[in-house]
Symmetry: none
Subunit: 307 residues, 5 copies
């Protein structure tokens, strides 16, 4: 049964074809949060991004891609995102169990790409189709001198993916020589990055939970003049959501406090209060032992479910 919440969100996507809307619905209607209009996604590309040891030594079960599929099933996540190889390895055994997001570009820390990185395209729309995925994922680094390459890659990929009925998820991570380290999570920069992703045609936007820092001088003046509140997590999430077509695009957040579980849940409450659509929780979940990870994810889902 289609709920009012999901029906409302889908109404924002009338510019997309029924195939894209079907795959968005598959994600929104799956798992513990299915039908609430909120979502929790389990992404596992850290093996590629940071190396397998750094990613999985903490919980060695995670070396096996199938582990993450099972974790997403057990926790009732809305979807699981991973690069080509991992999905190729585990998708057959999990066919039809859960919406999948094929991460179509990746970056590794071995590459000496300096201050202005750009990931490599490592999969195709055709891969996503033959592997049964509901969406493709792509990372852009606004702030990198290589922005033009990345934006143009996702432009072509998004056009092809949507023509084939796949939804498009953009990870928008500010990074590059145009930004300070602190600026990468500055509220003005994160809001800007989310906006860029939406303008590039993202159906789902993924950003980091922003800090109260404001990176751009012009933005700071204006935020003060217009009294744009950025003090609390909820304030900042609200600003990001507003910056992403006034709430008419699904935005999910990664990151959050690492000081304690309670502090993390508090951040989730802030995302919820600020109108965020959910969380994408990677290392913080899969680096814990299986049962703790499930409990942790279920607690997050309970907050989004308003329980």
């Amino acid at each position: 049964m289609m709920t009012e919440q999901v029906r409302k969100i889908l109404s924002y996507y009338e510019g997309e074809n029924p195939g894209v809307r079907t795959n968005l619905a598959r994600i929104l209607n799956h798992g513990t949060l299915g039908g609430t209009g909120k979502l929790v996604i389990l992404p596992v590309d850290q093996g590629f991004e940071h190396g397998p040891g750094r990613s999985f030594a903490e919980n060695a079960a995670g070396y096996d891609p199938a582990y993450h599929f099972q974790l997403a099933v057990d926790a009732g996540c809305n979807a699981h995102a991973a690069p080509l190889g991992a999905i190729l390895a585990a998708a057959p055994a999990y066919a039809g169990e859960m919406p999948l997001i094929l991460k179509l570009n990746n970056h590794d820390v071995l590459a000496p790409d300096g201050a202005d990185p750009a990931p490599a395209v490592t999969g195709s729309v055709q891969d996503a189709l033959r592997l049964g995925c509901a969406a493709v994922g792509f990372t852009i680094y606004p702030g990198s001198a290589q922005f033009k390459t990345m934006y143009q890659e996702i432009r072509g990929i998004a056009e092809e993916a949507k023509r084939c009925g796949l939804a498009v998820v953009i990870w928008s991570y500010p990074r590059g020589s145009g930004l300070s380290k602190q600026g990468e999570t500055a509220v003005d920069v994160v809001a800007y990055a989310a906006h860029i992703a939406a303008q590039l045609g993202a159906d789902i936007v993924k950003v980091k939970l922003p800090t109260a820092h404001i990176e751009q001088e012009e933005a700071r003046k204006l935020y003060q003049a217009r009294e744009v509140p950025v003090a609390s997590v909820a304030d900042r999430v609200r600003h990001v959501i507003q910056s992403t077509f006034a709430g008419k695009r699904i935005v999910v957040f990664s990151g959050g406090s690492k000081t304690s579980e309670e502090a993390f849940y508090e951040d989730v409450r802030g995302i919820q209060a600020g109108g965020g659509f959910g969380s994408i929780v990677g290392r913080n979940s899969f680096q814990r032992p299986h049962d703790q990870a499930v409990a942790f994810l279920k607690k997050i889902m309970a907050i989004y479910a308003g329980k």
Copy 2:
């Protein structure tokens, strides 16, 4: 949760890519029979095949394609099959609610195509993708002098569909100058037709419930010699299932006794007893008033569920 029954069926399809298996799983896991390994599909192409009046005057709500989507949802069918126009009209409002099968060829009774008909191709794999379908459907008429045209059309379509992760459903209806009218539902002919569909790459085969008539002289002699039982519905279904790769392809049956509801249910019990995977029920459901149709379909599902 993936059940043992579905997992076993999917194991027959390891030659297909994970996309095809995902879409088979979507169909097998959806609706009232989800997870049982049995399926009931609501097909509505009769408006095209026999004319709108003959199809829908009986229950005028059926003129609206959306009615059938809702009926399939209300009855908990595993999937709904329809031609391009109907899916184009109703899919947006039902995005994500149910697996769809896009019927890619159609035939109408106005056409003076004599004893050896061939349907027209009326949709494409690309249509199925952008409309969010889980499978494409195609009708072949074994026994028609135009068999070569039809077999070659589905060959190309199936290749493309599967490359894109879509499952392939073949309606295999013996018809043509090579057959007597009685022969169209003869048990040897139906078994043969199901086998041809499987050989053409069908993931799901749809045939009519066969009679005890044996059309081919050579077949009759052999069936008698080898004592192939064809007396009961269960016997004949068992023979069809066996003929379709020894049960390793999903075969669903249409038709069934029209003398009474009870007789129809008895046929369903026969399909169940013979190892059939389910039913595809069109006119017999949508020509009844909505609530009666739902009750009728739910009763059929209850039989398949072993209740």
Copy 3:
């Protein structure tokens, strides 16, 4: 300003992309009936279909394609439909004045194609784009032994046209050895033809105003049993509209009584009363002198406007 009537009609087309919906809106919002949800289209392909003399000798101004463009402007028609050559000749001078429908196939009476004709494809989607058209038009002859050729031609054309944002208009004219002459306009056959066009993906369906004759024996029995009223023009139009997705596809009617103008207007009132979306008036308008044609068309529009 978008009216409620047009907004409602456009809501039936959410399966189409915004480009197709924009072009449907252009047609629905243009001319005297703009915004009413009703439409009157001026088609002039008779020069090709019946020969120039038979078409234009009556009113020799009509030999010039530009005459028909001007007539459509002067009368305030919603759109003008014509074959490639005529649009190529007159479109430059009328660029932007009126939505155009490029007729993509044509048939002539010199061709000895017997009882089962099929028109020739005489233009392309690319032609329609470079000539600034809002839609492409295509004729099918349900009932012809060549149905497969025609249905497959429009399938490919419609897919390409819609991908490019063009709307698709199908002229569905029953004709062929499968039908009696009387059967070509029989109410059951016309309703069937309209349904086929909709299933083939037509955004706008064009049929002839049906008579009370019922061609198919099975249809006749059922209509009587179910008391489907077909006595009046309004009854028959209502049945056609219902048969075309329960009113969710635009259906326009050609033909109508030739006995007198008043009888023709009475037919238009019947179309209006039966829920028809409008008329497509060719020879009956352009074979009259200009001012009489304008007055005639304006009178028809006044009826649709409820004046």
Copy 4:
């Protein structure tokens, strides 16, 4: 200098791109009649169409394709039309001397194609470009059961040719089982054939000079009722010109009286009086000795020039 006459003719072609208009201007501005808005074309495809002996034994110099190029130059024709091989053979020596029309399809009398012929496509748009042609030529046979094949071939060829800036000349020759022998040159049929060519996108239409015979019963009634004059050559030419977009497409005529030179000139005077754009003169010129042919063509041009 562009003359008023040519400027006016080119204004009919504003739907074509500047490349097509440039090539039309090249033809209209070349030779003795350059700038007058009238044209005389020398076509030589009779070797292919009727065999070399029947075509050239009369004047053996004509076996050499170069002879016809030189004849066209010497006589001051606007253009020379020929099949691929002839142009390939002679174009190098005559590059830039005269606009060329590459005849893209041809038919021979050896082929046993019965009552409903269709020529073979024997050259390409690419051939025309690399050989420096100003236009491509194509023959259709309205009235042949193979009309669909021919119309669809020229549709594709014309689209490609025009995209490359080449003008399109259609030879429209009624022929086929739908017509009597007399009907092939009937005034109603020739007018219809010219109209069909224009609707197919011809920039220049070539038809046979029609007789006063009226083939179609419906046409005859209407012509009488509307008093369409067809008694004189000028009357009939006027009707053909009118039928071809009211004079807005260039129409040239072949044929003409064979009883005497004077009778032929009288026909040309009729074409001129009826508003025809010129003549296309093949056998009647190249089967004469060179100097007589030049004189003959120059006399025709003088009539068109009003001298």
Copy 5:
């Protein structure tokens, strides 16, 4: 009804196909200034170009792309220009209400691209077609070391767009290490930039209102020698218009005095007096509250309308 003013402007575009001319006519004939030959366009790509906060915090309603569509409708603008995401989000609800220009490349201020920027291509011609746009927009930065990349991108895009009947709008913004900051709006540089855009095939050129500064030494000498007047806004606009094919390409101006509304209107009067075709007004309109923005835009239109 086509006015003389629009007809005259369209006559400059006879080199374009009827599709492009139709879309130019759609823009010229829409809204309050429809038919006057003048135009006011509402562009909103500032969210992408400068960040959402800096663009919309001033008037928070503007975070929603639909707000700008409504503003353009309410003010009676000729067209609305925006990037892919915004049009995807709002076009369905506004299908057919207003000509749209899809901005096909974009740049953001997070990118550390130094003195010689180049935007990223963020949409396609195919996107514009399926979203129902009348034109595509593209920004070039003459003066950037990356000019070759940008000019070649628009060359390919313009070719494809025009083949599909879409008009091409070029934003020509001098910027790069070859220019001083003051030089970016110097009258000689702006005139040069407009000329480059026209040479690249722009149907509509968009430049900033130039200052009296002359950047290039050679230009300065010549302007003085030839007494090219650049003292007033009207003088400078006249020079830009003249530089863009002597007034035969539509040029619209952005920018204008920010000191007061009256000063801005005075600039508009200067554009009007200098023969400019209109204004493209972004931030100056959408950063005001809705009703003030409508009043402001209507006042500008009144000036262009000569009221």
